[in-house]
C-alpha cells in the first residue's frame, strides 16, 4: 500500500511528484492574517482563495478568512481591474476591515494586472487602507509569498520619522502562533520593547468564546507596521524567510537588522536571547537560565536514546535548518534535509551545519520533492522522519516513526498552539522525538525484551 515509489532513482526534469511546497498566495494569506483587522484578498479565480483557506483551516483548525476577486472569462481577457475594485468596495461595505491586503495569483500575474494602478484608481473610504504584493505562483514557494506580503505592508506603510521609537522589530518567520507567543514571552522576560510582525497569535489560535470574531484580538496593528520604520533594529529570524522584508525596511527607512536562524535548539535560542539582552541591556533573567539548564539536563538524561540516530527532515527551509541544528546538538545525524522551496542558500547553510558539527554522509537538497526523499530512504533508510503531514505515506510505507513539525500539519491537533522555538520549544521537540523513538522500541520489543524502566 501507498508504495508507488521505485527504489531506483531516475532523474526527472519535468515531473514533480509529491511536492514539499505549495504556491506563494497561501503564504501571503497567512502573513496578512497576522495583521490586526486585515482582510487578505486573493486577486484571481475563486478556487485559489477556497484552496488557501481550506489549507490554512486544515492546519490551524481555525476559520481562515479571505476574499477573492472571483475572476471570470471576461476578467482573464480584459484584466481583473473591475473585479478588484468592486471587491474592495464590497469588502469595506460588508466586512469592514481596517485594511485589505491584496495578493496576486498565477493568473493575474500572467495576464499582467497592474495592482499599483488599480489601487490608485480605487475609491477607498476615509481611514481605510489597501496594500498589495505580487505573488506569482510559478516562482518561489509559499515561503516567498509570506515574505513578499510582509514587503508589501512595509512598502505601503512603514515610515521613518525623526524620532526612533526605542523598540526592536521581530520578524518571526513562517512559524505557528505558538512559536510567536514563545518568542514574545522571551522578549518580555528580557524587558524588551518590541513590535512583532506579522503576528498570528491571537488570530489563528484565538480561544473559544462562543462568538465568531471575523477579526480576533491578535495581529500586528497598522500603527505598529508604520512604526517599524522607527525601530532601533530588526531581528530577522530565519534568513531565508525574514531577510527580504528586513532588507526592504532597511532600504526604505534605514533600519538596521540582524539576521538570525529560527530560535530552535540551544545555540539558536541563545543567539536570540543574547540579541534581545544586548538590545535591552538587561541581564538574562534567572528564570531563563533555569529553562536553559532544564533543557540541557533533559538532553543529558535522555541522550542514550537518540544519540547517533539518523533522521530525515523536510519542510520549509528555515524550519528544516532550525530542526537540523537542534538534532545535531542532540547528537543525532540529520541524514537527509530537503525543502521544496527553490533556494540554493538552503543547501549552503545545511552543508555549513554538517561541517560545523563534523557529520559526514548527510545530504541536503532545495527544490526537491517527497518522492525523491522516499527514494533516498529506500536506498538508505533513517530511524526517524521529522516534518509535515505529507511525509505520512513514506512513514507508513517504510515503517519509520514520524514526528510532526512545520507546515502544514493537517492530520493532528494542538501543534499550532505549542512552540518549537525557545528552550521550552526544544524541550517539547526533544520529548516528541524521544517518545517516537522509544515507543518504536517498545512496539518492536519481544515480550521478554520489553523493559519497564527505560
Amino acid at each position: 500500500m501507498l508504495d508507488l515509489t521505485p527504489k531506483k532513482i531516475v532523474e526527472r526534469k519535468a515531473l514533480r511528484i509529491n511536492p514539499c511546497k505549495t504556491c506563494q498566495p497561501v503564504g501571503a494569506m497567512y502573513a496578512a492574517l497576522g495583521v490586526h483587522r486585515c482582510m487578505p484578498h486573493s486577486h484571481g479565480s475563486q478556487g485559489c482563495c477556497s484552496y488557501h483557506r481550506t489549507f490554512l483551516a486544515r492546519h490551524f483548525k481555525e476559520p481562515a478568512i479571505a476574499t477573492t476577486s472571483a475572476f471570470t472569462e471576461g476578467s482573464s481577457v480584459f484584466g481583473g481591474g473591475s473585479n478588484v475594485k468592486q471587491s474592495v468596495k464590497n469588502i469595506f461595505e460588508i466586512y469592514d476591515p481596517d485594511i485589505i491586503a491584496v495578493h496576486t495569483t498565477c493568473l493575474s500575474e500572467t495576464i499582467g494586472d497592474d495592482l499599483n494602478t488599480y489601487i490608485q484608481q480605487m475609491d477607498i473610504p476615509e481611514g481605510k487602507i489597501v496594500v498589495h504584493t505580487n505573488t506569482p505562483s510559478y516562482a518561489g514557494s509559499h515561503v516567498n509569498g509570506f515574505f513578499n506580503m510582509m514587503c508589501g505592508f512595509i512598502k505601503y506603510l512603514s515610515k521613518a520619522t525623526a524620532v526612533k521609537n526605542g523598540k526592536i522589530g521581530i520578524f518571526p518567520g513562517f512559524v505557528n502562533p505558538g512559536d510567536m507567543r514563545e518568542m514574545k514571552r522571551l522578549a518580555k522576560l528580557l524587558k524588551t520593547e518590541f513590535i512583532m510582525f506579522p503576528d498570528t497569535s491571537g488570530v489563528l489560535d484565538a480561544p473559544m468564546t462562543g462568538e465568531y470574531e471575523m477579526y480576533p484580538k491578535g495581529g500586528t496593528t497598522i500603527p505598529e507596521i508604520v512604526s517599524l520604520g522607527d525601530c532601533e533594529k530588526i531581528l530577522a529570524l530565519g534568513e531565508l524567510t525574514s531577510m527580504e522584508p528586513a532588507i526592504e525596511l532597511k532600504r526604505k527607512c534605514e533600519v538596521d537588522f540582524d539576521s538570525l536562524p529560527l530560535p530552535i535548539g540551544i545555540q539558536a535560542t541563545d543567539a536570540y536571547v543574547m540579541a534581545l539582552s544586548h538590545f535591552s541591556k538587561q541581564e538574562v533573567p534567572a528564570e531563563l537560565e533555569e529553562e536553559r539548564g532544564q533543557l540541557v539536563d533533559i538532553m543529558m538524561d535522555a541522550h542514550a536514546n537518540f544519540d547517533k540516530k539518523s533522521v530525515a527532515i523536510y519542510g520549509d527551509p528555515d524550519t528544516v535548518l532550525g530542526l537540523a541544528a537542534f538534532v545535531l546538538e542532540m547528537g543525532m545525524i540529520p541524514k537527509y534535509l530537503l525543502t521544496g522551496t527553490p533556494n540554493e542558500k538552503f543547501t549552503t547553510k545545511a552543508n555549513a551545519l554538517f561541517e560545523k558539527f563534523g557529520v559526514t554522509g548527510c545530504k541536503a537538497k532545495a527544490n526537491g520533492d517527497l518522492f525523491e526523499l522516499h527514494q533516498w530512504i529506500k536506498n538508505d533508510p533513517v530511524d526517524l522522519l521529522l516534518g509535515t503531514t505529507h511525509g505520512k505515506q513514506i512513514a507508513k510505507a517504510e515503517d519509520i516513526p514520524l514526528v510532526r513539525a512545520g507546515f502544514p500539519i493537517i492530520d493532528r491537533y494542538v501543534h499550532s498552539y505549542m512552540p518549537l522555538v525557545g528552550y521550552r520549544g526544544a524541550m517539547r521537540l526533544l520529548e516528541l522525538i524521544c517518545n517516537a523513538l522509544m515507543d518504536r522500541r517498545d512496539r518492536d520489543a519481544k515480550d521478554e525484551d520489553l523493559e519497564m524502566v527505560m
Binding site: 501507498l2 508507488l4 526534469k13 519535468a14 515531473l15 514533480r16 511528484i17 509529491n18 511536492p19 511546497k21 505549495t22 504556491c23 498566495p25 484571481g44 479565480s45 475563486q46 478556487g47 477556497s50 484552496y51 488557501h52 483557506r53 481550506t54 489549507f55 483551516a57 486544515r58 490551524f60 483548525k61 481555525e62 476559520p63 476574499t67 477573492t68 476577486s69 472571483a70 475572476f71 471570470t72 476578467s75 473585479n83 478588484v84 468592486q86 471587491s87 464590497n90 469588502i91 461595505e93 460588508i94 466586512y95 498565477c106 493568473l107 500572467t110 495576464i111 505562483s137 510559478y138 516562482a139 514557494s141 473559544m208 462562543g210 462568538e211 465568531y212 471575523m214 505529507h390 505515506q393
Partner: protein, 445 residues
C-alpha cells in the same frame, strides 16, 4: 435580512414563507460576487474531485504547483486496488515555462511517468494560466496517446472559466472519452452503473453490497473505487443510477443519449431515501424475484435502522440543524434524514445547487427556514445564531466556524469520519450527530 448582507447577495437568500412566495425563487448557478468570502471552489476543483477517485489513473496537474498541492490525497475516497491516485503529479510550471510555454515540459512529464510506471490512464488538468500562455494540451495528450498507446485525456479546467459545476461537466466528458472507444455494437446490456458516489469512507462498498444481496449486477462504479478496466465496461450496463446528481447527471444524460442507457436519480442518505432507491432500482432492472428479495431486504434493514434511531430520538428532541453542503441533492437527503431523526432544519444552503433542487428544498422545509445559495461565513453565522441551530453539517471550511460559535458539527464532505451512506450510514450519522451534539465539551463554554 438586512444588516450584514451584501446587496448583491440578497437574491441568493430566501426565507420560506408559503403565503407570500414571490414566485421568483432563489438566485443560483451564478458566479460568486467579487469580494465575497465565498466557500466555493473553481472549475479545476470540480473536475478534479469527480475524477480523483479513479484509483489507477495518473492525475497530472499542468500548472504552477499550488493546484497540485492543495488536492493531494484530500478526498477520502478509498480504493480496493491501486493507490496511484493518492500521489500528486504535476509539471510545477515556473517562470521560464510561463514565458516559453509549458508544452515540452508536459510532454516530458508524461514521458517520465511512462518511464517510471506502466500507466493505463492519464488525466492532464490544465489550470488557470495554461490557456493564457497558449499551451495546446490537447495536441500534447493526443501525441502521447498515440506514442504510448494509452489513454491520455486533457481536461481544460482553468479556474476562472465558470463555476465548479462546469468542472463536473468536464470530468463527465473525460469519463465519456474513456468509455466510448470500448463500446461494441450489439452488446448485451445487463446490470447497473453507480454514478456520483466517490467511495468516501467506503460508502460505495456499502451500496455495492446491497446490490449483491438483492441480486443486481454492478458493472462500473463512477468514480468511487473505479479503475480503468472497470470504467471501460460501463457501456454494457442497462441502467445508470445517479447518487450525486450535481456532479454526475450530465454524464448520465450523455450516456442515455449516446449509449442508450437510461438513468434514475437515487440517494442513499437516510432510511427513506435508501429504501426507495433500492426498490426503484429493483423495479427497473429486476424480475419479480429480485423485487421480492429487495422488499424483504429493505424491510429488514429499515427495521434495524429505525429501531436504532428510536433509541437516540429522545436526545434530539427540540434540536435544530443547519446544512451547508456542495450539491442540492445531498441537501435534500439531509433534510429528509434530519426529519427522520426528529430534528428540524432551520438553515439550508448549497454551493452549487440548481433551481430545481431549491424548489424541492423549499417544499421540504418548514416556514421560516432560511435557504442560501453560495453563502459565506458572515451569513452562515448570522442565520445560524438567529435560528438557534444546534448543529451544522458541512465541510472543512465550515467546521471551525461552527466550533467558534459553540455549535456542534458533522463533516458530510471529504473529511467525513464514517460512512454516511446506506443503512449503516444512518447508524453512523445518528451516532455522530449524537456524539457531537452531546459531547461533554459543550459544558465548558
Amino acid at each position: 435580512m438586512g444588516a450584514g448582507i451584501l446587496e448583491e447577495r440578497k437574491e441568493s437568500i430566501l426565507v420560506k414563507d408559503h403565503c407570500s412566495g414571490n414566485g421568483k425563487g432563489i438566485q443560483c448557478e451564478t458566479q460568486s460576487v467579487s469580494g465575497a468570502v465565498s466557500q466555493r471552489a473553481c472549475v479545476y476543483c470540480g473536475a478534479r474531485v469527480v475524477l480523483n477517485p479513479i484509483t489507477d489513473a495518473y492525475h497530472i496537474v499542468h500548472g504552477p504547483i499550488g493546484c497540485a498541492s492543495y488536492t493531494w490525497d484530500i478526498r477520502g475516497s478509498l480504493s480496493s486496488g491501486s493507490d496511484i491516485y493518492r500521489n500528486s503529479f504535476s509539471t510545477d510550471l515556473r517562470e521560464l515555462d510561463v514565458i516559453f510555454g509549458g508544452e515540452k515540459k508536459l510532454t516530458a512529464a508524461i514521458d517520465e511517468i511512462v518511464a517510471l510506471h506502466k500507466p493505463k490512464l492519464i488525466f492532464v488538468y490544465a489550470t488557470c494560466i495554461v490557456g493564457v500562455i497558449g499551451d495546446d494540451i490537447e495536441a500534447v495528450c493526443k501525441a502521447a496517446s498515440t506514442k504510448y498507446n494509452l489513454c491520455v485525456i486533457p481536461i481544460k479546467a482553468p479556474g476562472f472559466s465558470g463555476t465548479k459545476t462546469l468542472g463536473y461537466k468536464m470530468a463527465c466528458n473525460a469519463i465519456m472519452e474513456v468509455i466510448k472507444p470500448h463500446v461494441q455494437a450489439g452488446q448485451i446490456k445487463k446490470g447497473i452503473n453507480i454514478l456520483g458516489d466517490f467511495n468516501l469512507a467506503g460508502e460505495m462498498w456499502i451500496i455495492k453490497n446491497y446490490f449483491d444481496k438483492i441480486g443486481v449486477k454492478v458493472v462500473s462504479t463512477i468514480t468511487g473505487d473505479a479503475s480503468y478496466d472497470t470504467l471501460i465496461q460501463a457501456s454494457t450496463a442497462e441502467l445508470n443510477i445517479v447518487q450525486c446528481a450535481g456532479s454526475s447527471t450530465y454524464l448520465a444524460t450523455r450516456m442515455e443519449e449516446e449509449l442508450n442507457i437510461p438513468y434514475i436519480k437515487v440517494s442513499f442518505f437516510g432510511v427513506e431515501d435508501t429504501t426507495s432507491s433500492l426498490l426503484r432500482v429493483a423495479q427497473a432492472v429486476g424480475d419479480a424475484e429480485t423485487l421480492a428479495r429487495t422488499e424483504t431486504f429493505v424491510q429488514e434493514q429499515s427495521k434495524i435502522a429505525q429501531e436504532f434511531l428510536e433509541k437516540y430520538k429522545r436526545n434530539f428532541i427540540g434540536k435544530k440543524a443547519a446544512i451547508y453542503v456542495g450539491g442540492g441533492f445531498k441537501a435534500i437527503s439531509l433534510i429528509r434524514q434530519f426529519n427522520e431523526m426528529g430534528i428540524k432544519t432551520v438553515v439550508v444552503g448549497t454551493q452549487t445547487g440548481k433551481k430545481e433542487d431549491y424548489d424541492i428544498i423549499e417544499s421540504l422545509v418548514e416556514d421560516d427556514t432560511v435557504i442560501l445559495d453560495d453563502t459565506n461565513p458572515a451569513e452562515l453565522e448570522k442565520f445560524m445564531k438567529e435560528k438557534e441551530a444546534d448543529i451544522l453539517v458541512g465541510g472543512v471550511k465550515e467546521r471551525p466556524l461552527a466550533y467558534k460559535l459553540g455549535i456542534a458539527f458533522c463533516d458530510h464532505n471529504h473529511e467525513r469520519k464514517h460512512a454516511l451512506g446506506g443503512y449503516e450510514g444512518v447508524i453512523n450519522f445518528t451516532q455522530e450527530v449524537n456524539l457531537t451534539m452531546n459531547s461533554p465539551v459543550w459544558r465548558y463554554l
